[in-house]
Symmetry: C2
Subunit: 410 residues, 2 copies
């Protein structure tokens, strides 16, 4: 008998019939003799609807009250799921984040899990009950206030509970079959991965792969909890994210991200402290920076380019322009039509020539590379947004990341 | 400066524009220098919608999960109301029943308030905040489970908080102007009462007046909290429900109740223990009994009639029929087309001849009285449902309970 944590997203519990189907799946797992902790998100569009209601009432609602409001969503879903399990003849109990012992800091809207107190869940599991926990929420022991964990919060709840309770696996049950070598909506022949390391998954998540948030992968890595990303539509194996994978592929996959803008400050005087001044000011103004590239100097001047989330582009341009004036630099350009394409693979560490193959593959498709940034297991290139599909396809071809044809129909 | 508790029902906070209007009213009270505790129900039909969702999933949902589900409704309303007050520039904080220190027993769906711990509300009031509390809910300190208080629960929350915090008044802000001498939908000339005693209000509530539940009036009486029932549409005074009223009217009002059915067991042998056997069995089967009338015996036999909520009528007939067979009694009849009309007044205690005036007034309208039951301050008659309007009007006429014409237009 093992302890399994299963996380179901909002789409999986979007209406009563889906909640009954999810209950059937949980009941199967329970009847197979496992202890089960279920983490559930709010039904369908509930969270969006609540946010819309709030914005009708107050354009800048207090964060504390926003958390009070949004946590109602998971509360509804988890109670209905407990009722559905009761209907299946399975004893179940639903617990709020607070009742489940999820203690966080007091940052409303983006709280961080600090500790998990396991007594109440443990007692209920020992009584033979399936424990259903509201995702995305916790309580600050300092302020005794309800908090939410922000984006990807329900996945984080699931992996953190799996870590705290020593679960054998944390299943993230979602509307895709697993983690693919590239986004199948862009490259239909992309291959589902059977397994991938935490390290690679972290790089893919940071590079735009939406299937898992980096935050929950980081939890899994730190506490060595295997994460199984699998479909809500069938019970075939999905993708295992874990410490060590059996085969260390050179390249695991290609991620892309079309949500950023590129800012370039031209003719920056090439002297010490210039970049520091610029990025300190941007940090103060709350602009999130992703990639930074500075070209080699010519005639005592250089260009500095960086990428930011598109919604930060206007603010970033204002700040950078003010800094440029004070430093005696030139114009500040904004390009919102870019995309970042990233190749990720643990094997890159030891394999030479990967970067060259990336650049050649893109060049062969007449795709211009505007920025480059690398880590030990990732190569990211900024290209024009219109070329993102061609770029991802070129890399899928070059590194043989397609579905293997012999496997089709097996 | 005084402490005012205001309770707003679901209709008053039915949509964002109404929530903003309620916030405006609370803000006015706060700006006038008062401390304010607000108790709020779930928005509009939220509770009904959640009950419907639950019944789609499980015909007999576990009571514990039902409470978890339904408490989401007040949570949404109170957070939105806090946001609306913030928008008005008024500091506010919303608290769940548990956070507000409302401790109950562990009867899910019909919990009783046992104690109120006031620290958290007190601290927030001292910080100058309006405190918004979720109506209808509490927490059982024994089981650490969320509970709901059942029908009329939000009124009970408001009066209990007013008692615990020594409020100067508990305002029940609703969609009627106050308590009337009779239901104005039935008798348009009925008069709004300026004040009424707890005792009379309890009898009116028990006799079918829907404006306040007996439960919250009982709280007010026990802890001597004046309750002001007033309109959400304007700020004119409504009706004060309090310990002692200035003028002790002989008759305060007429209530009616068309939600019951009459059961009659015929030819019951007139011997000791027969009524005990019948009503013990009905109690075991969960049938709620209101009035009971047994006629004088003739030829060693008697008829026993009693009233029950109509939804209990079928069950009551089955149980009564089984008992009738075992006792050697006759047929059991059910009449669902009855109504109870009750005259209530504290002055009846000392004034003779009231009952005779009631019976005469009804007889003059050719209304047959099928059952009679009295307390020291109430006379109730069961009549045919089709005659309820005529019966109420006859009593309003007889006891001069009309709007006083001189006051019209003042």
């Amino acid at each position: 008998m093992s302890l399994i944590v299963q996380k179901y997203g909002g789409t999986s519990v979007g209406d009563p019939s889906r909640i009954l189907r999810v209950a059937g799946r949980i009941a199967e797992t329970r009847r197979a003799g496992h202890d089960v902790i279920v983490v559930v998100s709010a039904m369908g569009k509930t969270t969006d609807d609540l946010i819309a209601l709030a914005s009708e009432i107050n354009p800048i609602p207090p964060a504390r009250e926003m958390d009070m409001l949004l946590t109602a969503g998971e509360r509804i879903a988890m109670a209905l799921l407990a009722m559905a399990l009761d209907n299946e003849g399975i004893e179940a109990v639903s617990l709020t984040g607070s009742q489940a012992g999820i203690l966080t800091d007091d940052s409303h809207g983006s709280a961080k899990i600090q500790e998990i107190r396991g007594d109440r869940i443990r007692t209920n599991l020992d009584e033979g009950k399936v424990v259903i926990v509201a995702g995305f929420q916790g309580v600050s022991p300092e302020t005794k206030e309800v908090t939410t964990l922000g984006r990807g919060g329900s996945d984080a709840t699931a992996v953190a509970l799996a870590a705290a309770h020593g679960a054998d696996v944390c299943e993230i049950i979602t509307d895709v079959d697993g983690v693919y070598t590239a986004d199948p909506r862009l490259v239909p022949t992309a291959r589902k991965l059977d397994e991938i390391s935490f390290e690679e998954m972290l790089e893919l998540a940071a590079s735009g792969a939406g299937v898992l948030m980096g935050r929950s992968v980081e939890f899994g890595r730190r506490f060595n909890v295997p994460i199984h990303v699998r479909s809500s539509f069938h019970t075939n194996p999905g993708t295992w994210v874990k410490e060590k994978t059996m085969e260390q592929a050179i390249v695991s996959g290609v991620a892309h991200d079309s949500s950023e803008a590129k800012i370039t400050v031209q003719n920056v005087p090439d002297k010490p402290g210039v970049a520091a001044t610029l990025f300190e000011r941007l940090a103060v103004d709350g602009v999130n920076i992703d990639m930074i590239v500075q070209n080699v100097s010519s005639a005592g001047e250089t260009d500095i380019s960086f990428t930011v989330p598109r919604q930060h582009a206007v603010r970033a341009k204002e700040t950078a322009s003010a800094v440029a004036v004070s430093l005696g630099a030139g114009d500040v350009d904004v390009d919102e039509n870019i995309a970042k394409v990233s190749l990720v693979g643990a094997g890159m560490k030891s394999e030479g020539g990967i970067a060259a193959r990336v650049f050649r593959a893109l060049a062969d498709q007449r795709i211009n590379i505007e920025m480059i940034s690398t880590s030990t297991i990732r190569i990211s290139c900024v290209v024009q947004e219109a070329q993102v599909k061609a770029a991802v396809s070129a890399l899928v071809d070059e590194f043989e990341l397609h579905e293997i044809s012999e496997e089709v129909g097996v």
